[in-house]
Amino acid sequence: MAEAEVISNATPSEEMNGAGNLMDFLDEPIPDVGTYEDFHTIDWLREKSRDTDRHRKIRKRRKESIWEFVKSLLDAWSGWVVMLLIGLLSGTLAGVIDLAVDWMTDLKEGVCLSAFWYSHEQCCWTSNETTFADRDKCPQWQKWAELMTGHSAGAGAYVLNYFLYVLWALFFSFLAVSLVRVFAPYACGSGIPEIKTILSGFIIRGYLGKWTLLIKTVTLVLAVSSGLSLGKEGPLVHVACCCGNLFCSLFSKYSKNEGKRREVLSAAAAAGVSVAFGAPIGGVLFSLEEVSYYFPLKTLWRSFFAALVAAFTLRSINPFGNNRLVLFYVEYHTPWYMAELVPFILLGVFGGLWGTLFIRGNIAWCRRRKTTRLGKYPVLEVIVVTGITAILAFPNPYTRRSTSELISELFNDCGAFESSQLCDYINNPNMSRPEDDIPDRPAGPGVYNALWQLALALIFKIVITIFTFGMKIPSGLFIPSMAVGAIAGRIVGIAVEQMAYHHHEWIIFKNWCRPGADCVTPGLYAMVGAAACLGGVTRMTVSLVVIMFELTGGLEYIVPLMAAAVTSKWVADAFGKEGIYEAHIRLNGYPYLDQDEFTHRTLATDVMRPRRNEPQLSVLTQDSTTVEDVEMLIKETDYNGFPVVVSRESERLIGFVQRRDLTLAIKTARQKQDGVVSNSVVYFTEDAPQLPASNPQPLKLRRILNLSPFTVTDHTPMETVVDIFRKLGLRQCLVTRSGRLLGIITKKDVLRHMAQMMNQDPGSIMFN
């Protein structure tokens, strides 16, 4: 608003002064004014008003010529075009990642002789040699030992396969960590805590850059295929946001406005989850519930569009060959019974406990990494963890394969066609017809065998995931969390099923399980467990249930999933309010104002600077400061902005000017504008007064002055101030008493104050 006013006022005053070059200087925008420095927070209000100005200008011009009209149309459409491009690119990248992971994971075990680019399943896709008993064996696919020694069985082959499995895993993870280290250190981790912070208005330059995009995509494949206990979902959100940022730079509407850019990034996050889980609606809700800070309705529609395009693109690539977007898509229609809610809620409790354990353990470990010597050896750490993971994972068939495949098997219901160990039920020879489904049958030795292997896998996953998440490679935690829950759920499911079989006479089973009828679906328990564990870690509820519901495509399981998700949230919240992402944000001290209520009774005057015994606030006056004074002020202080007052005596506030803008404006003026010397007076008023010719040329800076800074009175409760900061996304707020400027409250002060009130170390908050 301020700028528009200045623009309309500029011409007459310039003519009055008769200074041509001054007018030039004012007409062309100073480069970089309005941008932010690295690790600073943006001022949402300013971004919004700048966008309104821009929009108004375009609307005004559209009547002038056809070209301007076309330009205005393009501008109106650019949001949707960006969404389309984001959807296309993130869908394609997700497809590439899926295909490459599929191939590379199998590369640890063997190779396809007919075409090296096929994974195990693709290799045997057209083969007619597969048999019912050994369904995934075909002569084209050879394990390494078979290829090298010619023997496919025996101790020697096992050891050789084991050795090569570990070697490949180490090789992949070493490549991943070195690529991250050399080309894009920001590509490590899951990225969601940082994206959350960025969306709340923080600047991390290069975090969403092209190199980060490239390296994260490439190393994500390596990290996932190395068999580490990590998933691709979180990093895919980061990848999608990088795509969003990339396409933002094509349109000045988004590239020049940090607030508008964040709207695009919110939508990109939705597209990321949409392709990660094949759940477009879940993705939009995830963006709304978990990552976004400012989410207007317009963004909701655009996110939905981006998520749909992304899902469609991935679907047309068809990476899993099942016409689905995820490997562990399931489809069952067996009903569930009221009494089953009890085990579902128990699973919810387990999920909550797991969430608490994981968050506590992982944060403790990450803090160690951050503060002790451990952090000095990122490459070694990755290698060691990969080594341990691979060595422990290989002997157990449930941990050897990729985690997605494991989840897929656990989710699946045992049909007559399943060959897996989990479906080894004893057929009753007395039955006239062999069963189509496998309801109500005693478990065979295979199931018991699978149970203890699963129990071992559960312990292994729980422990190793705590140490894996946060290493310096791309790592997400959705998949490992879901795996933990799915294993626990499947174990509970089988237990309930066998109980129902052996104790038909119990009252609860009497109505529920008639002999011969299908009554317990262990796969459903696995799914509920997965939802509970994911909910315990991330504290999502609505989006989680929708994602799970989109995975199954059945509305009838909403109630079990909701019960588990809500229970897990309650249990986990009882032990600690923060989800894993908030915990990581706090660990790193990012300036993130969370949505929790502030309940302490402090006043603005307790928080504002300067405090009672501190020197006075550094201010500028509107018409009596010289360029030299300003430069001195900039040199001596490190404040990010200065209030402008009428005069030092009256201290009446007229506006606020950002340090960066001030520095740039003075620098530009000194270079381009003749007559601006150290003695020139800086004017923030509308018109510079007529000066005698002997005086040096004045410098008009009203253009960079924010005329509508937010003010509160000194007796405003902090509760309100925190609310203002949170809802309006302010960067700073000035405190006045009866119109006189008293002090300033910055976002940093608010965050420090909140940390202090919660008995945390206020110095840990990162802020420049």
Partner: protein
Amino acid sequence: MAPLSVQTGVSLVTIICLLLATQAAEAKNSEDIRCKCICPPYKDIEGQIYNQNVSLKDCICLHVVEPMPVEGKDVEAYCLRCECKYEERSSGTIKGTIIIYLSVLGLLLLYMVYLTLLEPILKRRLFGHSQLIQSDDDVGDQQPFANAHDVLSRSRSRTNMLNKVEHAQQRWRRQVQEQRKSVFDRHVVLS
């Protein structure tokens, strides 16, 4: 900055279009469809898997299970238990993706090796030991992006375009170095 990003954007869109096009072209490939019938054990016949190259409408047990292991009236009973699934894949996309991925990975590895191993050696060859010690002092061996490019660009005269590329590259290196410092050394972000 802006034209560069336009270029990247355009090239990315081209890649997407190419991928989609290859996929569309390859979809008709006869290798890429199958109808797989899994038949569980029936009476004394063992379970079996049948795999045929037939279109979606022919993907029923009667067409796919050949030779039929049972006679006459049992055929219907046998076929009821079989589960037939029609599946499609695109072998072209798989091949293309894996090859593109591997070549990108390979290029990155080569560049990495160049930056970490070859460049310090080249630098040593070109400028002898004195400067090496100097630049080693302020960056150390740990940092693959030593100030080599400062030195290199000073010593040679390049054309304008090359200078620009050099400049961009140098800026990128500085950024990466900054990132590395904040992630690996100071642990302020992403820990």
